[in-house]
């Protein structure tokens, strides 16, 4: 068998969330990725996120395309629904699924290969539709499953394992997303769970398309000297623009922020995103600022992280489609069929 079931250890004193579920209830099967893979750390952060947010597992749909990253939905939330689509085309499946039922939580996990090459079209159009989903890119600059070819996010001059440098310009999903009108754009690092979890929470609760580009080093093919997506390089060049905290509805704000230093964004679910600037001039609610700051950091060789841009005011996909709130898949047939008399009447126009 190529499928490894994770042993489930039940402890009486295990922490339970508001649904009475334990952390283990949100785990998946055993990861088959390489030891030390950044993706596994992100999987852990996702589990923490959905546990803390008290998401009923069966109300969540996790989707992915093809590649190492796209394997990971099998490694979290076993009790949720999973859809491992064809290469680069998870956004279209998410679009269809959301049309059928807008009342579910949608988490997409993709990679830089899946999103920025074959999937770049669907990625762009999911953003344009403002599909209500959390879209995570586990970005390592390399194709892992086919053993180490450059991906479209590889920086110029970054080298492959055998030393050859990449010569083509990289595609930055965050800059692309902001310019396409994405309503939530963040960057993080798989090695920084403290930053990542609040971003995941905010992204999942944001109404509309939430992109989180997570630098997630590939220990086997892209963690060497010369790579700009290695653990060391990422740690040395990371530059956090905005600290983010997510406050769930009705929960108390535990952290005291110095007055005037923070920006609160109300989410449609009643929760709040608290943003505190690390950079004086950075405004995560101004699109031009955001794109310029990301661009300038990039020019300096820095990796700007945090919630780079948020706009909670835009209508999402379902609102723009003017689709009824009741999930379409729950409408009874009687509610959908006009009946025989109306068919007869309609045909008068074809007489």
């Amino acid at each position: 068998m190529s499928y490894i079931k994770k042993p489930k250890i039940l402890r009486d004193n295990a922490k339970r969330n508001e649904l009475g579920m334990t952390y283990t209830d949100y785990e998946g099967s055993m990861s088959t990725l390489c030891a030390g893979c950044g993706h596994d750390a992100i999987t852990g952060a996702i589990i923490e996120t959905v546990f803390d947010l008290n998401i009923p597992p069966h109300r969540m749909i996790k989707l992915s395309g093809i590649g190492c990253s796209s394997k990971t939905p099998a490694y979290f939330a076993n009790q949720s629904h999973g859809f491992n689509a064809v290469h680069g085309r998870m956004p279209s499946v998410a679009t269809g699924a959301q049309s059928a039922n807008s009342q579910m939580y949608y988490i997409g996990v993709s990679g830089d290969g899946d999103t920025l090459s074959i999937g770049i079209g669907q990625f762009a159009h999911a953003i344009r539709r403002n599909l209500n989903m959390l879209y995570i890119i586990e970005n390592n600059g390399v194709y892992g499953l086919t053993k180490g070819q450059f991906s479209a996010s590889a920086d110029i001059g970054s080298t492959a394992k055998k030393g050859a440098p990449n010569l083509q310009t990289p595609i930055d999903p965050c800059q692309m997303a902001i310019s396409l009108g994405a309503t939530f754009v963040a960057r993080s690092f798989s090695g920084d769970r403290e930053q990542l979890v609040p971003l995941l929470k905010s992204g999942l609760m944001h109404r509309g398309f939430a992109l989180i580009d997570v630098i997630s080093p590939c220990v086997t093919f892209n963690d060497h000297e010369g790579s700009t997506k290695s653990y060391i390089h990422t740690r040395e060049h990371i530059n956090e623009a905005v600290y983010t905290d997510y406050i769930h509805p009705l929960s108390e704000i535990k952290v005291d922020y110095p007055e005037g230093s923070t920006l609160e964004v109300d989410l449609h679910n009643g929760g709040k995103v608290i943003l505190s600037k690390a950079h004086k001039n950075y405004s995560p609610v101004n699109r031009s600022d955001a794109i310029r700051s990301v661009r300038e950091s990039d020019d300096r060789g820095e990796i700007l992280t945090g919630l780079l841009y948020i706009d909670e005011s835009q209508a999402d996909f379902i609102e723009n489609e003017n689709t009824i709130e009741t999930p379409l898949n729950e409408l009874s047939y009687q509610n959908l069929c006009p009946g025989s008399e109306k068919l007869a009447k309609l045909q008068q126009r074809y007489k």
Partner: protein, 617 residues
């Protein structure tokens, strides 16, 4: 005005007899973008309203304005709906194509043209009659603005035809009222243009011609509609809620129709919101992904497309087959390969649809033959997709999808309820210890599925990678094979669920004709013609893939079967040979693939030639 400008042909072919009523073809040669299609439609519909069976075929360019376009109207007392293969009256309105149009008129026929500019070239044939009507001149004199002068020329030639064919002007005028409703100025303009043409013909030609219209009652209980509209109605009545698409000729009007029907019938009364979602995708790759996502999530979903779209959708179709997700794809076929001729018809995707995608993949296909069947098969496709948990492809074509056909009134069975197949609900899941997605509990190859979000026990993982019957990832040889073998069991089950073939026996069992889809009407007419010549043919029209046992039995019972289809490579012939036990030698493949709907005239000739060859051999 001088009476009788008409130049009679030397050999008169027509004699006034009963047979000359209601049997003629009028072909309109126009420039596209000049408003001719409304006038041509007016002409056809008026004949229909006179109770005379009629059909219209549109031969249009892949262009918006300025290129040649033709519209052919055939009145047929027997209700034959395929082109006749000849032209009795050519309305030649396009100087660019005069020569070609002139050549197409049957000997003894007529050519009507705008004599504002005399064309000597049109007098080149002595075996036809040329009728000149100064359409531009009359319209310039009677209408003020430029647009009206262009448009009303079209209505004016309808007026001339009405006089020549003895049509009831009141019927045409009533139709104008129905079309334009409250736009009185348009009604008045059209009425006066109609009268101009009518009066001119009456004053200058011998009216009526030897062949005329004559009121009948053969269209009561019928409508004139295209197959894209009826397929869309099928989607509406099947309860489809999610439609995704990327615009492509000739399937576009299917989604346009669905949109307008939904706008009318599917608004939530309380909120005014949509009880449907129509998503214009970025391409066909996404259109099928959206359809599958919605189907997987428990909505009836569909996507209309044409050949190039099928090519793009193929990978996802294989996914749908392997992961067992219901959705419906409409392939309104056009001429291939590649971009081909987007506005011409063909049955060129038979093999591409049957086996779309890599690996061992087969798809359930339905082959409607006209708009009436497009409606019923559309509904059936949703039931089959749900029952079999797989994508179902409805192969229509441009002829069915975009041309106006006369079909029986569509009837809806009040007692219809969608067959959603094996879906486990809350109660069933509650009582289960574990749910496994791909177990074949009933031995019919069809597993049980759940709708996401319904119950915690119903969760499962859907993937296109190797999976076992429990729904878990696998690379295990046995587990993999067990699952793909079970899909074959399902394929066998499908044979009993798909629509039965249409079989019609004649007095003799010597020969048979086999076809699918829009070849049907040309074959019906050809069989009538051949029967009169003492050659009776049995007939099998396949309506679905996989082939049911009735198809196998019919094939076995015949020694020689003509397989008629509209593609170059004999795709249906090959599919039948591959998928049944029949010997290839028994099949005689007849292929007509120039992009024009097939006509019985050519078909009869071809069959006679083949039989003669056989005799000689």
């Amino acid at each position: 005005m001088k009476i009788n400008k008409q130049m009679r042909c030397k050999q008169k072919r027509f004699e006034v007899s009963t047979a000359s009523h209601n049997n003629f073809t009028v072909k309109f040669a126009n420039v596209n973008g000049t408003g001719s299609s409304s006038a041509n439609g007016l002409f056809m519909k008026s004949i229909f309203r006179m109770g005379i069976p009629v059909v219209g075929k549109n031969y249009f360019p892949s262009n918006i304005q300025g290129l040649p376009t033709w519209y052919e109207v055939r009145a047929s007392e027997h209700g034959y709906l395929a082109p006749s293969g000849g032209v009795d009256i050519m309305v030649a309105m396009n100087a660019e194509t005069y020569a070609k149009d002139l050549g197409e008129v049957d000997p003894g026929g007529y050519l009507l043209y705008d004599s504002t500019w005399p064309r000597n070239i049109l007098m080149a044939r002595e075996d036809i009659t040329v009728l000149g009507v100064p359409l531009a001149k009359m319209c310039n004199e009677n209408f003020d603005n430029a647009r009206a002068r262009t448009l009303m020329k079209n209505t004016a030639y309808v007026g001339s035809l009405a006089a020549l064919l003895n049509m009831e002007v009141a019927v045409i005028e009533q139709l104008l009222l129905d079309i334009f409703g409250s736009k009185t100025n348009l009604i008045e303009a059209n009425k006066s243009a109609l009268q101009l043409g009518y009066d001119y013909a009456k004053a200058n030609f011998i009216c009526p011609l030897p062949f005329t219209t004559k009121r009948e009652n053969k269209t009561d209980g019928y409508i004139m509609i295209d197959g894209n509209a009826t397929a869309a109605l099928g989607c509406l009545y099947a309860g489809a809620t999610v439609g995704s698409w990327y615009p492509i000729t000739p399937s576009t009007s299917l989604m346009d129709s669905f949109t307008s029907y939904c706008d009318f019938f599917r608004k939530d009364e309380a909120t005014g919101k949509n009880k449907y979602a129509i998503i214009q995708a970025e391409d066909e790759l996404a259109a099928i992904g959206i359809a599958l996502g919605a189907g997987w999530n428990g909505s009836r979903s569909f996507t209309p497309t044409s050949g190039p779209g099928i090519s793009l959708m193929s990978e996802f179709l294989g996914f749908g087959y392997y992961a067992e997700i219901p959705t419906v794809v409409f392939d309104v076929q056009r001429t291939g390969p590649s971009t081909g001729m987007p506005t011409r018809t063909q049955q060129g995707d038979i093999l591409a649809c049957a086996y779309a995608s890599h690996g061992d993949t087969r798809h359930v296909c339905l082959y409607p033959s006209n708009p009436e069947e497009a409606f019923h098969f559309s509904v059936k496709a949703f039931d089959l997709a749900d029952q079999l948990q797989t994508p179902v492809i409805v192969l229509s074509d441009l002829d069915i999808g975009m041309n106006d056909w006369m079909i029986k009134d569509l009837k809806w069975d009040k007692n219809y309820n969608p067959n959603n197949g094996k879906i486990l609900g809350v109660e069933e899941l509650e009582g289960m210890e574990n749910f496994h997605r791909y177990l074949d509990k009933d031995g019919d190859g069809i597993p049980y599925r759940t709708i996401p979000g319904v119950h915690p026990k119903g969760s499962y993982f859907t993937r296109g990678s190797g999976h076992n019957k429990l729904g878990l990832y696998t690379e295990d040889a046995q587990e993999y094979q067990e699952l793909v073998d079970r899909l074959l069991v399902k394929w066998e089950t499908a044979k009993n669920l798909v629509p039965k073939p249409i079989i019609d026996f004649s007095d003799s069992n010597d020969y048979a004709i086999l076809c699918i889809g829009s070849c049907d009407d040309a074959i019906r007419e050809a069989r009538d013609t051949l029967t009169k010549k003492g050659l009776a043919f049995n007939y099998l029209r396949i309506t679905a893939f996989p082939f049911s046992k009735e198809v196998e039995e019919f094939l076995k019972a015949h020694e020689k079967i003509f397989v008629v289809e509209q593609n170059r490579d004999g795709q249906l012939c090959k599919l039948v040979a591959m998928e049944t036990g029949i010997h290839l030698e028994k099949l005689d493949s007849i292929r007509m693939y120039d992009g024009i709907p097939i006509c019985s005239r050519n078909l009869v000739q071809e069959i006679l030639n083949r039989l003669k060859e056989d005799e000689a051999a």
